[in-house]
Amino acid sequence: MFDLTKEITLNSEKYTNYRRLQIAVYILAILIALFLAYLVIFPTQYFQFSFPNPNSTQNNITGVHNSELAFPDRGRFDSAGNIFFYSSLEGNYSQANVSFTLDKDSEGFENGTLEARKSYQAFLYPEGSPIGFKDGTLFKNNNNYYIVSAGKIRKFSSLNLVDSLGFKKEAFVEEDGFDFKFSNQGDDISGISSYPDSSIFKIKDDYYILQDQKLKKFISPAAFATQYNANQAIEKDNSFLAKYPLDENILGFRDSTLISYGISVFIVSSGRILPVNNTVTFSSMGYDWNDVIPAGGDEVSLYEKDKLFTISSPHPDGTIMKDEKENKWYVIENGEKHLLPSENIANSWLPKGNPISISEESLSLKNNCSLGKNTFSSRTYSCDIPLDNFKPVIGKDYEFKLSSDNDIKLETINADFQKTASWQNFKDTVSSLLTRVKANYVQ
């Protein structure tokens, strides 16, 4: 074995001692390296939340709320309600050890239980009423032609009127009448003197939509394409701009569109753009690299840059989700998910790009455990909740629901996600690492 300090000589007895110690150091180093490899391959992810310091940057448990969707002030919740919280992480884990430390003034848990389910946080939102066609959609039914104008379905009085106004017949989607009930009915369109609101125009290479009888311009054809199909637009010349006043506001990309500028990817959300912090977040959210639209400086400058979009962020408003198995579509709006009752309606909201895949089964697949007092801390209660059966479930968010038969005041929540050492978990981790390397270098 090598000696790094040959110049320093020792007598044979001491030299033997040194050699023994040297072997021990290298064996210890190998053991530490193996242990670190174990930590990387079978990792444990730690999550926490402190109620006395709810704004601490150390808090990585998100979305803490009670049954009234409010933040539980100083960790208080009563027996009639529950506390919900989320942990977001990439990959599959074997179990989560969740522990709750109670405030020193709080009673202990009586029949404290914890329930977990897995999906995307936005898909776990409460369900709102179904949503009908998007404004500007053109469809036909039994040779009657319709436009969805300012939230109402309006019928063209005749086919000739459709032609006279310049609408392209191929832009009208065939509809069986089922979708009518999800939008209000408006007056019929009978005159050619003016266009109904939500009519779309193409003047030279620019696209406009009529809103409140004002023409609103789209920032670019690429932005328009995220909202409507090109064949929905009536082609006009420049003189048409004199017929309607121009709205000073400019329309951009559809909410939840992915755009790239330089080496960054952003998500459009309610007039702002959220920079995606890394490729792990991007892939964990279920996004597809093919849906990223390169944007120019003028398009990006339309938006205000907002905080980082991390793996803990829920999908923003406007996100379209689809359960492939059930063929059901949803849109996320204002903290609710809304059913899009048909494929036609869904296509009117998502003319281009892929929806986020979800699984409705994830809503009903739940695991639970009963909280027990910890041996070494009288104020800490915990339980291990198995997660193995969540492996096939699409999503990166674990929603936890805490219940108790008595009023409780919490101080901290800790959740440790553990991956047990198994051949399957080893393969999963290696596969995930390779995917991440590929995402870093190929995209």
Partner: protein, 130 residues
């Protein structure tokens, strides 16, 4: 008896001095390997432990070697410059810089890389060479 005690203690410190070199080698290999892994997959190492700790261990180790060397009046001859190792380390350094700028335009990446290496070379010539 006291002479024997100090002689024994000196031998033990000699062994400690030699072992500290081995520990330094192990920690540097670990630091080097971790740095490469972190360059390829950001977060793979730092999610589990911080590089700051490793750097503190390295500096502590070097300080102990220095202090013990002074105490034991060890004066090791300065070894010859190991050009092969230096070239290998420079190659790895270049790869790490190239990797960190991977998303940039490849020509801009190569230009920055050459500029960094040239700056490093001239800084070395100015500061370290007589």
């Amino acid at each position: 008896m006291f002479n024997n005690f100090f002689a024994t203690k000196k031998d033990q410190l000699m062994i400690a001095y030699k072992i500290l070199h081995d520990i330094l080698l192990v920690v540097l290999i670990f630091f080097f390997a971790s740095f490469l892994a972190e360059g390829i997959l950001p977060g793979i190492i730092t999610n589990h432990f911080s590089f700051t700790r490793v750097i503190i261990i390295i500096f502590l180790n070097i300080f102990l070697i220095y202090a013990l060397g002074n105490y034991l009046k060890i004066n090791l001859k300065t070894g010859k410059e190991n050009k092969k190792t230096a070239i290998f380390l420079l190659f790895i350094l270049a790869l790490l810089i190239f990797n960190s700028l991977f998303k940039l335009n490849i020509f801009l990446n190569l230009f920055i890389l050459l500029a960094v290496l040239a700056t490093g070379y001239f800084a070395y010539k100015t500061i370290l060479e007589e």
